[in-house]
């Protein structure tokens, strides 16, 4: 157990459980055994930092507002949703509680909710964060009872004799068992009856409305009783398939989209027997030897948020206009708090189309170097040199106006322990280089560290971690 990891393996651990590792952090943890590095990740994340926007007028009872204030309300709501997005994005880039935030990001996609009510959205996000490394069962219960979920999947309209099946269906299909995994349409109908009466009050607290609840007997997944919503959640957690489904998704997120069935079985048992302790599951994965096998390293396509945060973090990039961050999220097809639907972002190859890829490849140069990927070949003729310079100049003037990002290169370069070409490649890029990339790199000059790093980050290899 007291084994040590190579630099590449440490970087792998930090990319999958966070957004990469800084040079100075790497120097520090390199001396620690694997177990201690992992302990460190958990202890850094023992605390929780909730998102806390000032909602001002949105906190007030609409009846106390003037007519003008009410008109402004809708506009304000939309604005606050965007503020919430930016606040979280900045927290992702600055936090020390990296593992917790990374798992919050995972469950943000698992419990994918798209709302126009910022208070509910923030509340749900904090519920997820507070349970992200703790217990999945507790999280499921609290999320199911949150105003955000009750609103989004219409459980407020789910009443005795007039049921709305939306939540009952999704809780099985997307949150616990997974689609077509051992439940029937009848199970959904019966579960919907059990969830009747679940609602929330003006203060945003959960309430059980007796008069809307169907107190009759229900049969769900083979069990019969006068079930309430809480009982359905408990029944779903008793099903081992739920442990398997969640483990499978976490494995895809942290390890590989190709799932090893032996590992999955071991992990599922561990997770289930530990009563859904997320920490137990994560430790089982991270403390294994197979997690660090070459077939898992550098094979995952970074999500837009992983890419954006991974790029900004080491340079502490400051954006003069935070609208740029929203613009980039939109163009890259992942806007925090705005998943495409209740099934969330699909991830993997679906992040990539021709327009997102070209922007992703340009992103490092755009945020860190005014859009310029300066490339000097030894065999350049004077003419092609001039052409390039003209091209760069045009790009620079366009980007400077549009993006207005200020990266801290001095800080980055000062803390960088590596200077030679191969070391920089190994530090910046996780996967093995393609033949094309090898050819290109062989002709590049690593003498100008800044230019060389931009070039490495502009390779398709940088899209992987």
């Amino acid at each position: 157990m007291n084994s040590f990891l190579t630099d590449k393996q440490i970087q792998h651990l930090y990319w999958r459980t966070g957004f990469g590792i800084s040079s100075s952090e790497l120097q520090l943890v390199r001396t620690l055994p694997k177990k201690e590095i992992i302990d460190r990740l958990f202890s850094e994340s023992s605390r929780k930092t909730n998102l806390s926007l000032d909602f001002g007028v949105l906190e007030k009872d609409p009846r106390d507002l003037s007519r003008e204030e009410r008109i402004e309300l809708r506009k304000l709501r939309n604005q606050k949703m965007l503020d919430l997005n930016i606040q979280w994005l900045q927290q992702l880039a600055e936090t020390k509680q990296v593992l917790r935030e990374k798992m919050t990001l995972f469950f943000h996609n698992h419990f994918a909710v798209r709302l126009k009510t910022p208070r509910a959205a923030q509340h749900l996000n904090n519920v997820i964060r507070n349970n992200a490394l703790e217990n999945f069962g507790d999280m499921l219960m609290e999320v199911s009872k949150s105003p955000a979920m009750l609103l989004f999947l219409n459980n407020r309209q789910n009443r005795k004799n007039n049921p709305n099946e939306n939540f009952a269906r999704e809780v099985m299909e997307l949150f616990t068992l997974g689609r077509d995994n051992g439940y029937t349409e009848t199970d959904i109908k019966e579960a919907a009856r059990a969830f009747t009466g679940w609602n929330f009050n003006k203060q945003g607290s959960f309430v059980f409305r007796q008069k809307h609840h169907d107190f009759g007997s229900k049969t769900i997944l083979g069990r019969t009783g006068n079930f309430k919503g809480e009982d359905v959640i408990k029944i779903l957690l008793e099903e081992k398939q739920t442990a398997k489904y969640i483990t499978q998704k976490i494995y895809t997120y942290l390890v590989n989209e190709k799932i090893d069935s032996d590992h999955l079985e071991t992990l599922t048992n561990r997770f289930y027997n530990a009563s859904y302790s997320i920490e137990v599951l994560l430790r089982e994965i991270l403390e294994s030897t197979w997690f660090y096998n070459p077939e898992h390293i550098g094979t995952k396509i970074k999500s837009p948020i992983e890419l954006l945060v991974g790029l900004s973090k080491p340079f502490q990039v400051h954006y003069k206009n935070t609208k740029v961050l929203l613009y980039l999220q939109r163009k890259l097809n992942q806007v925090l708090f705005f998943p495409p639907n209740v099934a969330g972002w699909k991830g993997g190859k679906s992040w990539i189309d021709n327009s997102t890829l070209m922007l992703r490849l340009k992103l490092a140069s755009v945020t860190l170097n005014n859009g310029v990927i300066e490339m000097n070949n030894s065999d350049d003729s004077e003419v092609s040199m001039m052409m390039k310079q003209k091209f760069y100049k045009k790009m620079k003037s366009q980007m400077e106006r549009k993006i207005k990002a200020t990266p801290n290169w001095e800080l980055f370069l000062a803390s960088l322990e590596f200077k030679n070409k191969q070391q920089l490649i190994d530090f910046i890029l996780q996967p093995k280089l393609s033949e094309g990339a090898k050819n290109v790199i062989s002709e590049l000059d690593a003498g100008n560290t800044k230019n060389f790093i931009i070039e490495l980050m502009s390779l398709p290899e940088y899209q992987l971690c």
Binding site: R169, N341, S355, P460, Q463
Partner: protein
């Protein structure tokens, strides 16, 4: 000068553009081949267009009584039949209609309609059931099954809609062709692409990234170089939607081997004071379509073109409290083309005395029947492979 030489020369003349090796075998259509190369243009009116105030049941008492302030008066419309009239903003469409080039299908929708913009758009774009979540679009699956190149489906927009994403092939999104072309001229990427050979590509994620990069590169060059051949001298309206349609016309007339074009016009979510805003948008839509059709006709390509216009849902029949309408269900779909088999009003008008429990129009035609008809009857491919199940085909084409 024949087209191939023309292309070679223009590539050569563009100077620092390196011609990647894979471009050399690129096919171009000769003028003779061009004729008969069928294509579809798909237009989404985003936000949920109010079909009832677009193609109007002008004699229907329920229509007038449920919409006391937003119903159109007879003298504000263009007559189709005694019962039906166009919104006067749709005058260019009316002209095409009179020439037998428009087919209107009423009551198009799907079972258990979803009233969320996002969800219903996904349903229309993926051709899924209401409770089925698909990650590929119907045009994308057409690419998978029947095409070789990403540029055979082009979206003239910033990013690629789900509709054009397949499981193996994705379509190409082009908003500003020059800008896309400029990105592919970036010296660094240029070098990388030229140093990458097809046989280096693996099936893994890294291979996929390189493959997409090469495809973007070749498609961008192909589209850029090929579309230089024709630039329209027809005048289009100033709107950006019209600009997008002009781009599509340039592509078609230049002879791009593209089967499906996709574009959208947004802003139809008319909850408040809808009359002015909807009329304005319909005008933008109709004038742009008018110019597009004129352009295609002039170049003898209209007979090979079919234009499908849809919206993710229609709107509620009863107006709401703010002189607008809320999200509804079934809606009309407009088909425009030079080779329609059945023009005019395809089927029965919406039955306003038999609405669903939300007060919305019930569907009688599944939207996937329209897709199936286009795939089978127009593009001449197997629609079931793409749509999963068989749907009744309509005879408009």
């Amino acid at each position: 000068m024949n087209r191939r030489n023309f292309l070679k020369q223009s590539v050569f003349a563009s100077g620092i553009t390196l011609v990647p090796s894979f471009l050399k075998g690129m096919e171009l259509l000769s003028p003779a081949q061009l004729s008969g190369y069928k294509n579809v243009i798909i237009i989404q009116l985003s936000g949920g267009n109010d079909g009832l105030n677009s193609i109007i049941p002008i004699q229907n008492d329920i229509y007038h009584s449920l919409r006391p302030t937003i119903a159109k008066k007879k003298n504000e419309t263009l007559k189709i039949t005694d019962d039906l009239a166009f919104n006067s903003s749709l005058e260019p469409i009316k002209k095409l209609y009179d020439q037998g080039e428009v087919c209107i299908v009423n009551n198009v929708g799907y079972p258990n309609p979803n009233r969320s913009h996002f969800r219903s758009t996904d349903i229309w774009q993926t051709a899924s059931d209401t409770n089925q979540y698909l990650s590929s679009g119907w045009v994308g699956r057409y690419l998978d099954a029947n095409c070789q190149h990403p540029y055979q489906a082009i979206e003239v927009d910033n990013s690629l809609s789900l509709a054009l994403k397949g499981n193996q092939l994705n379509g190409i999104a082009v908003s500003d062709l020059k800008q896309l072309h400029r990105t592919t001229r970036e010296p660094f990427f240029n070098k990388l692409v030229n140093d990458t050979q097809d046989e280096m590509l693996h099936e893994d994620n890294q291979g996929y990234l390189y493959k997409t990069m090469l495809e973007t590169y070749s498609s961008a060059s192909y589209i850029y170089e090929t579309s230089k051949i024709y630039e329209s001298n027809i005048s289009y309206p100033q709107s950006s939607f019209a600009k997008n349609l002009k781009t599509i016309a340039d592509f078609i007339i230049s002879g791009l081997k593209t089967r499906v074009y996709y574009s959208s016009l947004g802003g139809f979510d008319s909850h408040v004071n809808q009359v002015n805003s909807q009329d304005r948008l319909l005008k933008v839509y109709a004038e742009a379509i008018g110019a597009l059709v004129k352009d295609l006709k002039k170049n003898n390509r209209f007979k090979d073109t079919l234009i499908l216009t849809f919206s993710e849902f229609g709107r509620r029949v009863k107006q709401n409290g703010s002189r607008g309408t809320d999200h509804g269900a079934a809606n009309n779909v407009i088909l425009i083309g030079g080779s329609l088999k059945k023009a005019g009003i395809y089927n029965e008008l919406p039955n306003l005395s038999d609405l669903d429990s939300n007060g919305d129009i019930k569907f009688t035609v599944d939207f996937r029947s329209i897709y199936a008809s286009i795939l089978n009857n127009w593009l001449e491919v197997n629609d079931q492979t793409i749509l999963g199940t068989g749907f009744d085909k309509l005879s408009f084409i």
